[in-house]
């Protein structure tokens, strides 16, 4: 019996789709135990101002190493409570600090803006966590904060809580549309 060309193409298509899905799944759930060598952790990955003495450095837009990583987002969710972000931002709903679930991002919604906000602090209350939380954990927090605002893909966001839920899960929220606001410079020293 001769297999038709269409059937063979179809089979090859399904096989490659399965392989691709498997790879995508790997990235989504990837867990790394040794994030960086302890001496290689950049303590000052983000600076508030591009002005500095000495030769100018090349600005490179850094991206979050944990974008598209669902495991890191769920770790970030744990850190959000453990590092007491909820103390002011109240599970993203806002209280003493601004809400993180709406579309208004005072200091920018890009990963490097949120990183700078956590590390350097912001006027009127946001503490500077520099030296208190290691950078890789800050990046996990960044990944979760963006998930809170609906800025991560649905497949990446955290789903239901183990305890009683006060509102819908991060995954059930609509996609965020951050309003264009003043975006402070986010630079990296190379």
């Amino acid at each position: 019996m001769k297999t038709s060309a269409f059937a063979r193409i179809g089979q090859a298509g399904i096989a490659s789709l399965l392989v691709l899905t498997a790879f995508a799944g790997c990235k989504r759930e990837q867990r790394r135990f040794r994030e960086t060598a302890p001496s290689g952790i950049p303590v000052d990955a983000v600076v508030m101002s591009p002005l500095q003495p000495g030769p100018s450095v090349i600005d490179v837009r850094i991206s979050n190493p944990y974008d598209d990583n669902a495991y890191a987002v769920s770790e970030g969710k744990q850190l959000f409570d453990q590092m007491n972000c909820s103390g002011c931002h109240s599970h993203g709903g806002g209280g003493i600090g601004p809400p993180l679930t709406d579309d208004e991002w005072i200091y920018g919604s890009e990963p490097q803006n949120i990183f700078a906000t956590i590390v350097e602090g912001r006027p009127n209350g946001m503490p500077a966590f520099k030296g208190r939380i290691p950078p890789y954990q800050v990046w996990k927090l960044v990944a979760y904060v963006r998930a809170l605002g609906g800025l991560q893909g649905k497949a990446i966001r955290t789903t239901r809580d183990d305890h009683m839920m006060y509102k819908e899960s991060e995954q059930a929220r609509d996609k965020g549309h951050p309003s264009p606001t003043f975006t402070p410079p986010a630079s990296v020293k190379q």
Binding site: R31, F33, R34, E35, T36, P38, S39, I41, V43, Q82, M83, G131, R132, I133, P134, Y136, Q137, D162, H163
Partner: protein, 323 residues
């Protein structure tokens, strides 16, 4: 450090002894039954080979022999049934004796399971401020019943010190209880017995059973806050602790560090091990643990720390004062 034996075959208290007795009873009875059945089988096989291959009609004794065989089988089935009923009876009796704590005012201890360490608290009902917090090491007085109230902060763990007690699960959002009594002084190793993540295997604890006066002395010393460091190196270490990321997770009573995400370090230097029974508690192990815990216990929640050698030495000097 001599690693204490963790074995259900070496009971240190009445509960483990009762479980061991039940185990021996079941094992020995099963061995005797197995030997009897095997002997009967071999006997039957031997007899079969010594008999004529087929019976002829002139064998008038055959119906009688058949009746005799049926009686043997019926007796064996009845004996097996009675034996199984006896097993149930002994099992239920043992379980009842384990479920009811012994007489006397028990010592109350709260245990909370975390990924991957044990939080241990000694509440004082008369004065709630007198609570003692420690980790991965449970001191108990010899000869007194200990009542343990357990829960978990993340996933299901299981509290298992085979020399003293059977397993009991720690369930998030739910309280479970167990009790045990150590009749002889010694250090007994325990272990998480419910798979709980990457470092399940490195989630051990130690039960230190000591004479009552020694235990009271220990409890009294644990109640006091951390000693204020006197030499300048340790004072610098305290600043490193409080200004760095240590204070984000660990508490040291008597200082401003009050976070309860990681183990309480108020009396760290008095403990035998670090990282939930993974390493002996000495300066070199502690240094390696602080700098890069992920190489010792991959997946552990403690992040690596970027400390210059001077700060690390100061921090170690400070931690050594936390007796």
């Amino acid at each position: 450090m001599t690693v204490p034996l963790q074995s259900a075959l070496d009971p240190g208290g009445p509960k483990a002894a009762a479980i061991l007795h039940l185990g021996w009873f079941l094992l020995i009875t099963a061995i005797v039954a197995y030997v009897l059945v095997t002997v009967a089988l071999l006997y039957a096989l031997r007899r079969a080979t010594h008999r004529p291959a087929a019976f002829d009609d002139s064998d008038f004794d055959e119906p009688n022999r058949e009746r005799g065989r049926v009686r043997w089988v019926a007796a064996a089935v009845a004996a097996t049934g009675l034996l199984l009923l006896l097993f149930i009876f002994v099992d239920v009796t043992t379980a009842r004796s384990l479920g009811s704590p012994a007489v006397g005012e028990p010592l109350r201890i709260d245990v909370v399971g975390h990924q991957w360490w044990w939080e241990v608290k000694y509440p004082d009902s008369a004065n709630p401020q007198n609570i003692v917090e420690t980790a991965n090491e449970i001191h108990v007085p010899v000869g007194r019943t200990v009542s343990i109230k357990m829960t978990s902060s993340d996933v299901i763990h299981s509290f298992w010190a085979p020399n003293l007690d059977g397993k009991k699960d720690l369930i998030p959002g739910h309280e479970t209880r167990t009790w045990f009594r150590a009749d002889s002084a010694g250090v007994y190793r325990g272990q998480c017995a419910e798979f709980c993540g990457h470092e399940h295997a490195k989630m051990a604890f130690f039960i230190v059973a000591e004479p009552p006066t020694q235990f009271e002395h220990w409890l009294e010393s644990q109640r006091s806050g951390a000693a204020t460091p006197t030499d300048s190196l340790a004072q610098q270490g305290e600043r490193v602790f409080l200004s760095g990321s240590c204070a984000m997770c660990h508490a040291i009573s008597g200082t401003s560090a009050g976070s309860n995400f990681g183990p309480d370090l108020t009396h760290l230097a008095s403990r035998r091990t670090i990282a939930a029974g993974t390493l002996p508690n000495d300066a070199s192990n502690l240094a390696g643990w602080i700098i890069d815990p992920q190489i010792i216990k991959p997946g552990v929640k403690m992040p690596p720390h970027h400390l210059d050698p001077g700060s690390l030495q100061a921090l170690l000097a400070y931690l050594a004062t936390l007796k």
